[in-house]
Amino acid sequence: MSILLNKDTTFIVQGITGREAVNLTKECLDYGSKIVGGVTPGRKGREVHGVPVFDTVEQAVDNHGSQIDGSIVTVPPGFTKDAVIEAIDNGIKLVVVVTERIPRGDVAEMVEFAELNDARIIGPNCLGLIVPEVCKMGGIGGPAKDASKSYKPGVVGVMSRSGGMTTEISSSLTAAGLGVSTAVSIGGDAIIGSTYAELMPYFEADEETRAIVIYTEPGGRMEAQLADWQAENNSRLPIVAFMAGKFMDDESMKGMTFGHAGTIVEGKEDSATEKIKRLEAAGITVVERIDEIPDAVKERIGS
């Protein structure tokens, strides 16, 4: 039925009094998510759309009276590492990091801390994740009424390096009657908390999920890692991939970054052409056009 989130998932928002965080809190509450607190140092005692604000994560956990499952972190880049570690140190196991432009040394540090504490980080530089009609954790899909248009429950797990394309692709899967089991905006940075391959075991264990769609870009080795995972694990899940940014393979575009921070072609290995080759060699269907995704999924699951 879903990965990482369910109807009982509780979470907090760190940085809840920020302009974007206030909107995001409303969107998630409207969608039915259980936000049990917010944290902004020095703002204890306030409320954001009825959610109590605390100075520390510890206070939020005390107030809740039992463990809190997750946190959305949307604080400025210089404060993000500390906020993420604070959440994990207070027993939170799922952290969605929305913040952009965090130095990768900080990202790597919080990811290593998460690993040591059996916690999982999604992002940074992401819109979070959504289980259609159950729970939305992050800005993914936008306001509840818009999210409901794009996301209907179904059989496809979606993972995307682009937040916007997560919704674009999910909307096309919804329109085609396939629907979405869980969609995850994994983030566009060079180092992220959860890669495709690292999330595959969750989808593998989710009975409702019958296929995976990934949106991918040039730069990095995440696709090679997924290809290796697929080749080694004999997964029951067919994967359909769409690769954007093929124009970046042109010689004149070498060394330039387009879109996300992680999108830069430095060597031969991280070019679009090379990645497509690797994915296909691992039995992953790579579609040429974005609108071919739903049919390719139907073909792979035989419906």
């Binding site: 394309m165 329109a175 060394g255």
Partner: protein
Amino acid sequence: MIFYEYEARRIVEAAGIPVTRYGFCQTPEEARKIAEEIGGPTVIKSQVLTGGRMKAGGVKFADTPDEAAQYAEEILKLEINGHMPVGVLVDPKAEVKQEYYASVVWDSTAKKPLMLFSDMGGIDIEQVAEEHPDHVGRGHISNLLPVGDYEAKQVIAATGVTGSQLNRATPILAKLARLFREKDMILAEINPLAELTDGTFVALDAHMEMEAEAEGRQKQLLRKDLGIAEEDTRDSYVPSEFEKNVKEIDAADHRGVIQGKDHGFEGNLGLVIGAGGGSLTLTDAVRNQGGKPANYSEIGGNPSVAKACGLAKEVLKKDGVEKIAVMMSIVSNTRVDIVARGVIKACLELGKDPAETIAIFRIPGAWEDEGNKILDYYGVEYCDRSVSLWDAAGRAVAKIQEGAGA
């Protein structure tokens, strides 16, 4: 931020890694003076941010201070791969017994820095790794724990290096790893790391690159220690007029983000597109259907009317642009009506008919009904989410080709 060799040497020197007694200068006279102080044969090296200096004649060996001055003069005038040097480095000619390689880079799969060491220095490490894998040692370091000397030792010992060489190289690699983490580098490389005939080790050349996102917290190093000016961004190419203007418009208003690039693009279809992933998808979709984009752009984060208008105007002002296509993946934050207002305003202010100028408007999502009303009023063709990004791009291409045929 990519560093010149003379800056990279200062960085490794400050980390306690031995270097030769080099000098950086910008005139032949200064070069002569440094060579006199060194008092022996010298190497004059062009300071440029590009490879292949040696081949291009940017590195020369001088026996006397006069020769040093003469070579400095030649090298200061020599353009290498389109780059003029910012100066020359005057280095004592080292008596090298053996060359090694030491570096630290990010391994994004392991999410940890990776130390690399080889006893075959001076040449391209990728080639060594391919042809002599047993001569390359590797080891990850933790992001949380301090780097231990033993970790560097293991990496070096894995290449078969032992004896005093192992003991002298170990602290150098460990210090390089510490500096990589402390100074937010994405590349820290010493090549060659030289063992001199007297048995000592020195860094003869170094390459350093700092992550852009970390520059704000490395001001001490950048502005004070190295004296690099704020505006010295060291982009790998000179930004175009279009790119500069878009950047200015973006900086003038904190709401939303716009970006524009036209390096490598010279078509007739202007693209006003977004966001990150949508822009990549749409640029491919236009090109793969025979269209010729005039630029790449990104809109995101709910920009103001002025910002959307500013981007559209800059695109329309580009040479050879006949029409613009305004397209995004489904938006949840950016408002459709605001972008619609912005692009129509741009057309009107430039005396163009929006219905003629905007080949297609495809932005579904937040406030789309309000946006559609405005587009209807001006007769602009638009489409909703049932038209894919591919098909929307196709319509724009078809329209501009019809126009060309007529």
